[in-house]
């Protein structure tokens, strides 16, 4: 399970005013976002028109991470805060631990798809609580050495329940919805109950319920979807299995030759300036940064701006796949990876 530093959960528990939750919700937005580049990189590391079954699984998860990021931003807006998306500090310097993570914990990087990556990183990110651990006493005096992301969200839920007014103070005009998401999953967060049920969506989609790998919408939680990929078989209903499900469904085939050999954790400065590869990575990074700029506007009072950002997401996808075909100069056998580095739209270069 994703372990986070206990200070974040403690900060929620000890909060007395909604304002004190703002930085923690900002952390939540950053955490949800931080999983997206690694997932997308794996997704776009396949050669064109191959491994469609695996793509479908990763795609379904990454879309939900985008949903979670949007929900977290909506909650922050609903409480009266302001998401900060367009900021170099918003972007993890991969490979790194995830936001709020503890130093010696899980290290997440930008890598091509492999079953090992799924097992060692993606399933770790999404691993649910041990059912026994669910009996958390949030008022506990003795501080544990770590908390989990599930505990973090549950603490947040609890605190909102405790201190927020029924009608949340944020400007409803800042709430983001989209035709690309089911309105039962992405809706304006206007009341305390809206916020509480929205947090349930984040928890359940990621981890499932406490008794089943299936969430309340009947979908398999992220952890088990990744497990399907690692096991190589679909999770299906199985009355003989302990929780009613087992990995005894149809095979999910995988051929490692269908994966582009992208260099792990490519950085723009690994490519010499003025080279075509460097220019493409720079284009990728400026598109990515511009996307964050567009999302910043979206989450800061221009919710309709979301539609404008769709084209940039599409460009990121295309550039990522183009890069994956470009040989990496000086690194034989490798192609170039997307580096997901935040750049200002332009440099501060002064004219000649």
């Amino acid at each position: 399970m994703l372990k986070i530093s206990p200070q974040f959960v403690n900060a929620i528990v000890t909060a007395e005013r909604l304002e004190e939750l703002f930085p923690l919700l900002q952390n939540a937005i950053e955490l949800e976002h931080a999983t997206i580049p690694p997932y997308l990189t794996a997704l776009f590391s396949f050669k064109p028109n191959t491994e469609n079954a695996i793509r479908k699984v990763i795609h379904s998860i990454v879309i939900e991470e985008m949903l979670h990021m949007t929900i977290a931003a909506n909650i922050l807006n609903a409480l009266g805060g302001k998401p900060d998306i367009s900021n170099p500090n918003f972007v993890p310097d991969y490979p790194t631990h995830l936001p709020m993570g503890i130093g010696e914990g899980l290290i997440v990087g930008i890598e091509k798809y492999s079953p090992e990556l799924v097992k060692k990183v993606f399933m770790e990110i999404e691993e649910p609580e041990n059912p026994l651990d669910l009996k958390i006493n949030l008022q506990a005096k003795a501080l544990p050495t770590y908390r989990t992301i599930g505990e973090f969200y549950m603490a947040l839920q609890q605190k909102i329940k405790e201190i927020a007014p029924e009608k949340l103070p944020g400007d409803p005009g800042r709430q983001v919805t989209s035709d690309f998401f089911d309105p039962n999953l992405l809706y304006p967060i206007l009341t305390k109950d809206d916020a509480i049920s929205a947090i349930n969506i984040i928890i359940e989609q990621g981890e499932g319920t406490t008794t089943s790998p299936i969430d309340e919408e009947g979908e398999i939680a992220h952890y088990y979807r990744f497990q399907e990929l690692y096991v190589g078989k679909e999770l299906i209903k199985d009355p003989t299995a302990p929780h009613g499900y087992s990995f005894s469904g149809p095979e999910i085939p995988f051929d490692k030759n269908n994966v582009q050999p992208i260099f792990p954790n490519t950085k723009s400065n690994m490519l010499s300036e003025g080279s075509e590869g460097r220019r493409q990575v720079d284009i990728f990074n400026s598109t990515y940064s511009n996307l964050l700029n567009g999302l910043h506007r979206t989450f800061n009072g221009e919710p309709d701006y979301l539609d404008n950002t769709i084209g940039l997401m599409f460009d990121l996808r295309l550039t990522s796949q183009k890069l994956a075909e470009m040989p990496f100069p000086g690194k034989e056998g490798y192609t170039i990876g997307p580096s997901y580095e935040f750049v200002k739209v332009m440099t501060e270069t002064v004219i000649v």
């Binding site: 220019r279 511009n290 910043h296 506007r297 769709i310 084209g311 295309l318 200002k344 270069t349």
Partner: protein, 650 residues
């Protein structure tokens, strides 16, 4: 008023244009003869040319404000005098930067910018100015590189002139006296913008500049009633040819008599020695007014004049290297003109002269239009649907003053014949001709200019049923001339100057309940022509793949045409075909015969055959030959351009 007027700012840097090239070849549009190899990199119709996986992106890169010219005509590039100097010129925030697309594979010489946002920001990303460039095609295509196509593969440059619309002035604009002066001067909250592009890279060269080009830009006031897509300026045409190439082929200039000022834009024309825009000339250049009318056509033998034939204006203080041109964008102002020059310029031609080794003799590199007459159509690129009527404004002037009550003749170019398969290299399929059926367009053959020298043409697209078979709609070219004025033999260098390029889209009736067969030909063609989509996104020829992504596709096909992500990106699909695709996506039915389309196609085939028979014997006009050759040159099909090291040295 235009980008050449003051107050004006210049900017320069790179542009990126990731155009796709499979669609540069008409034969590639035929679904029945399409082969996978057409999507692969390589020259010639059996391949996809130089950028088969292009995505049509257009944007500004590393562009900066370089210089301002105030209302007094004085220029400065000192950031201490005005904070606008050195600021960043860039595209849209949080959305795509824009697209660059051809009108059609059979009219590639007016490539248009769509959905391009222009912004000026501080180094801290604070907004100074933002506007949307009204879509326009390039014109004044001309030779720029003395080194020919070496290194980058494309020696020509072109000019986009347009207006910035819906201009937003950032809070910090108030700190720039220049911006405040520009804001107070301009009208209708629009600004005039000019982008001279050149040095564009087809080649995967070692400098990594593939798909980049250089841009020399300028921004100035715009006034109501003035043209949007060219400056209301006088024109200087090159008359010195070198291996059949004319440098300084077309330059705009304005003569402001009241302020005794002449401003000339060499940003579109100044020869450069390489693909990044280095000037390396060994000739002193001068501006002068000719005392005698000069009608000379471009010729390799220099046209010489002596000082007695001219009234001297001044030396052009250009500098070799990259500094001067990038700072000034090639615009030169001559202030405090003498009374003699002021008087002479009113009714005499301007000359660009080069010093020669012959004592007291100058080479005429470029001369003003004969009798100072300029006629230009503003909306010179037209995309028309059935029963759509557009207005085109023509502006006629002589020595910069309106030519009122003057007739303008508009003629449809004759139909061009179908090129039979075996005459194509390589032979893939028949390629249809253009300009038929003639009744596809309705317009007046003659219009008259008003007191402002403006004539308005109403152009209506009529119903046509696939006259080109596998290519949607038809390409028409209208030529225009002033009554009693011959086309200037020096006007139009690579392309004729005075034409209107029209894509009339096919008539198409939206089926009650469209089935896959109704949209299949369009979608298969799309999959063929844009491998970036079928390779990296979805296979457009597979209805199930489309259904799987239908939300996203409905989103893209339902955008406003000015939105950069509008589909199809080429903006060449009949509106009713686009609506049919949307209708199908909302209720996708795969089975069934596409009755409507089949009938329309059959009708179209008949048309095509009849017209082919009609047109087979008509030879191409001079303009049509030039268009054909220009398209070849643009595609990099037959470059044989020598390197020129001693340009203008006589």
């Amino acid at each position: 008023m235009s980008y050449l007027n003051v107050p004006r700012l210049t900017f320069s840097g790179d542009f990126i244009s990731d155009v796709s090239t499979v669609n540069n070849d008409p034969q590639h549009y035929n679904n029945n003869t399409f082969k996978k190899s057409f999507q692969e990199f390589g020259t010639g119709s059996n391949n996809g040319w130089w950028n088969p996986e292009g995505g049509a992106t257009f944007g500004f890169q590393d562009c900066y404000v370089q210089q301002i010219t105030g209302e007094d005509g004085n220029s400065s590039s000192d950031p201490l005098l005005d904070s606008i100097i050195g600021q960043i010129v860039c595209g849209a925030e949080g959305r795509n930067s824009g697209k660059m697309v051809d009108l059609d594979p059979q009219q590639q010489m007016v490539s248009q910018l769509w959905g391009v946002t222009f912004r000026i920001l501080t180094a801290k990303n604070e907004l100074l100015l933002e506007g949307k460039i009204e879509p326009t095609g390039f014109r004044d295509l001309q030779m720029r590189q003395q080194t020919g196509a070496r290194v980058n593969g494309q020696p020509l440059g072109g000019t986009w002139t347009s207006v910035l619309e819906d201009v937003v002035w950032g809070d910090l604009a108030a700190q720039s006296p220049f911006l405040m002066s520009l804001k107070s001067k301009t009208q209708e909250n629009r600004l005039s913008i000019n982008l001279n592009g050149f040095g564009y890279y087809y080649a995967h060269a070692t400098d990594g500049r593939f798909s980049l080009g250089r841009i020399l830009g300028s921004l100035g006031p715009w006034f109501s009633g003035k043209p949007k897509f060219f400056p209301p300026a006088r024109r200087l045409y090159g008359i010195l040819s070198n291996n059949n190439n004319v440098f300084f082929a077309a330059s705009n200039f304005i003569f402001d008599k009241e302020n005794a000022r002449l401003s000339i834009d060499f940003g579109s024309s100044f020869p450069v020695s390489d693909s990044i825009g280095t000037i390396a000339l060994n000739t002193e250049l001068f501006l002068a007014v000719s005392k005698n009318a000069i009608k000379a056509a471009p010729n390799a033998t220099p046209y010489m004049v002596s000082p007695d034939d001219t009234i001297f204006i001044g030396k052009i203080e250009y500098q070799n290297g990259t500094g001067w041109i990038n700072s000034t964008s090639g615009i030169v102002d001559f202030n405090n003109l003498s009374d003699e020059v002021l008087s002479a310029l009113k009714e005499n031609q301007l000359l660009l002269l080069g010093a020669s080794s012959k004592t007291g003799q100058f080479v005429v590199i470029a001369r003003e239009a004969v009798d100072g007459i300029v006629l230009r159509a503003d909306e010179f690129v037209q995309r028309l649907d059935t029963n759509q009527t557009n207005e085109i404004n023509f502006y006629a002037s002589q020595y910069g003053l309106p030519l009122s009550n003057h007739a303008i003749y508009i003629t449809l170019e004759p139909p061009t014949p179908m090129t039979p398969k075996l005459q194509n290299t390589p032979p893939i399929c028949d390629v249809p001709g253009n300009n038929y059926p003639a009744d596809g367009l309705t317009f007046d053959a003659e219009i008259t200019t008003d007191v402002n020298g403006v004539g308005v043409l109403k152009l209506t697209g009529n119903s046509i049923d696939s006259p080109r078979g596998y290519l949607d709609g038809q390409i028409y070219t209208l030529d225009y001339d002033l009554a009693g004025v011959n086309t200037d033999s020096a006007s139009g260098s690579v392309m004729p100057q005075n034409f209107i390029a029209i894509h009339l889209r096919d008539y198409f009736e939206i089926p009650e309940t469209p089935v896959w067969a109704d949209i299949q030909p369009t979608m298969v063609q799309f999959a063929n022509l844009y491998p970036i989509m079928s390779k990296f996104f979805i296979d457009f020829s597979d209805p199930n793949a489309l259904i799987a992504k239908k939300e996203l596709l409905i989103f893209a096909f339902d955008r406003d045409i000015n939105d950069p992500i509008y589909m199809p990106v080429t903006r060449d699909l009949s509106e009713t075909k686009r609506l049919t695709i949307l209708k199908w996506l909302r209720n996708p039915i795969i089975e069934g015969e596409g009755v409507v389309l089949t009938q329309q196609k059959e009708k179209g085939e008949i048309n095509l055959i009849q017209e082919d028979t009609l047109t087979e014997t008509i030879p191409l006009t001079n303009n049509q030959l030039r268009l054909r050759d220009a398209v070849r040159a643009k595609n990099g099909a037959d470059f044989n351009i020598p390197e020129i090291t001693n340009l203008f040295e006589f």
